[in-house]
Symmetry: C2
Subunit: 413 residues, 2 copies
């Protein structure tokens, strides 16, 4: 997991620059609060937030195993009419070059925008994927993976086609908003006449350091969300998330890649907030305060789906979200969820236009997202508080080495 | 400046919790990058980001002298028809109580939302203001400050009335997105039947720690923006920003308060980006890289408006933004700009819907924003890259002491 280690370290260790900063921190603490005014002009302690970086090159693209950043941009592009494989290859080459520069904290060639100047890379990741329509447009239909079959329709869907799918998908994440915005702008500009923006969404997560110690994040319903995510240290993590390196067939180019399912899930927060805390916890199956399952223990205690309360009722209700979504009831289906929350203001009725930019990573959507969502669609008590408003499925190729670009194994042969 | 010191300290010193964290940082640095995987389960070092807080009580409301946070929400509310002064007073009392709790990192009474659980106050500030229409609705027209006269129309305005003005204005800022969102939601809910959301906007700034040392922020045009802001250490800072404590007359209740001018200024970034860097710098009058004026020196060198280049041309062009906006050409007019950038996706033509949520603080808008904007409106070369799309002017009363609420001197007499 070469991509993962660097960013694990950012939240727990300091790099070279950070070590100097640590000294400054100690000096600052010694000076005490009374000295605050006196140190006004002094350099602020270097933190690892700005200087942390994820590697662009490697077996997998960045932006999958790294913790989700504080700011995210999702964007889909459609190729201009008449764009052929060569033009698409040139675009991916341009995009890869500037992504590599930006992720390393370098100014990309011809980039005269100053938006990200002064800031470090701030854990920027840029991840590229191909939608189903990409392959028809570029004459590559024979290389399209079977896994890109359209997702089935779910009864809870209220999808807006204009904000769904697309030929190309870009995921951007960074712990600084200007670094993330700059990356989005530059990638859009460098698309030139080859591809045009189809849709774009903004999301966020906790800022590193907002909590006293690292913990699973919360969503906008206030729930701890992601407890049962596969961990990079799990023995079967790579099997569940990544297409095997020895993958064969027409889509052998996907070796080391992954499939991203993207869903804009609006939360009906006004309806949700009308429930008592006790009812909310029953809908989820976990305690709000610490995420412990209602069957007992702490956040990470395995859920006991059979546990019965004194009054004979199941501790985890039959339609509780964690029961229906549980790997135990889904024959081991697993996906890595790496979401951003979103908030696009308020709707005309005063309800927040807010929820989750759900992103699930898996080696095969038919073994990850699809069977779980089929079950949730039928039996999840949480689903009446959610609206799936946009959807996308993308083939995200493996990473590339220096001198190569993302998707090269598909686009050049 | 009691409000300012605490937050100055957050970026330069560590509080009690942070001091323990500093020790952890040093230990972490000693372990070295090779130990990254081994420390996976260890607590992350406490930083000052989450634990920093601004005081709710004091001579001035928070959210004016404190550095602008990484996340901001602006919202305007209109009173429900028939709402009287007593109901408005009860609303401000409710809002003040929950703002005081949230800013101290306490869970407000009856707040069962878990969105901000685990996170520290993260420098949350909540600031309340009254729009011109508030006074008619509540029968308080005789106490309306003369300074709330409608702003003059400017030729560059393209204002959307639905996103302008409003009876009540709330400014929320925090360095964590979930803390800020939680505050917005809770304030909206506690408005109950008394007031309804009129408009709401989201903004952002750099995350603390994204740059190696503290510096003036950049806007989405890539320019260092805010160099000439008055500093709390300036001898005349309070005179320029705050209504005097001994203010007399019908609006004596504004003593210690300030007037906020709010403008949603969209940047025509695609047009801007077509300029060469050299042209952009001439439009602004400063170097993009470090913000130094084109008359020479560094960012903080006073601008020499008379300097002539070797070829006889003015170093700072006649229509350069910093010349037209300069206090020297505005008879000492001054305001404290404390802005957030915004990015609400892209417009139908592919151009970003992005720019500045400009917020200017001043003791008197007729001596601050208005004369400067009049000059900019006529002669600023930057104005053709900007559209003012929404506008608001609010009387922001002084702070309150414990047991009081914001606006009490207006609403109870």
């Amino acid at each position: 997991m070469p991509g993962g280690t660097t960013v694990v370290s950012r939240r727990r260790l300091l790099g070279t620059a950070g070590a100097a900063g640590a000294g400054a921190l100690v000096v600052g603490a010694g000076a005490g609060a009374a000295g605050a005014a006196a140190v006004r002009g002094r350099p602020e302690p270097l933190t690892s937030l700005g200087s942390a970086s994820a590697p662009f090159h490697g077996a997998h693209q960045a932006g999958i195993v790294q913790p989700a950043q504080a700011h995210g941009h999702l964007a889909a592009f459609d190729l201009a009419p008449g764009t052929d494989r060569r033009a698409a290859a040139a675009l991916l080459r341009r995009w890869s070059a500037i992504a590599a520069d930006m992720m390393a904290g370098r100014q990309a060639q011809d980039d005269t925008s100053g938006v990200a100047l002064d800031a470090g890379p701030s854990s920027l990741t840029v991840t590229f994927g191909f939608g189903r329509s990409f392959f028809d447009r570029t004459g590559l239909a024979d290389k399209r993976p079977a896994a890109l079959e359209p997702l089935p329709a779910f009864t809870g869907d209220a999808l807006d086609a204009r904000r769904s799918e697309g030929d190309l998908w870009v995921q951007i994440g960074a712990d600084d908003a200007l670094v993330a915005f700059h990356a989005l702008r530059l990638l859009q500009k460098k698309a030139g006449d080859t591809a045009r923006l189809r849709w774009q969404m903004n999301g966020f997560n906790r800022t590193p350091g907002a909590t006293a110690h690292p913990m699973t994040g919360r969503n906008l319903m206030g729930q701890i969300d992601g407890t049962n995510n596969p961990k990079p240290s799990d023995a079967d993590f790579a099997d569940r998330v990544f297409v095997p390196e020895d993958h064969k067939g027409a889509d052998a180019w996907m070796a080391g890649g992954s499939y991203a399912v993207v869903r804009r899930i609006r939360m009906l927060l006004d309806t949700w907030d009308h429930l008592s805390l006790e009812r909310q916890e029953k809908v989820i199956g976990r305690r709000q305060s610490d995420g412990a399952p209602l069957s007992g223990g702490t956040e990470t205690t395995p859920v006991d789906l059979d546990k019965v309360d004194r009054d004979g009722a199941l501790a985890i209700a039959g339609d509780a979200h964690i029961r229906v979504a549980s790997p135990a009831t889904n024959r081991g289906a697993a996906m890595l969820r790496r979401a951003f929350s979103y908030h696009d203001g308020f709707r005309d009725d005063g309800a927040p236009d807010a929820g989750l930019l759900f992103i699930a990573w898996q080696a095969d959507p038919m073994k990850g997202f699809v069977p779980v969502q089929r079950k949730l669609d039928r039996g999840d008590g949480l689903s009446r508080f959610l609206r799936h408003e946009a959807s996308g499925l993308y083939a995200v190729p493996g990473g590339c080495e220096k001198g190569e670009y993302v998707g090269q194994r598909l686009l050049e042969d």
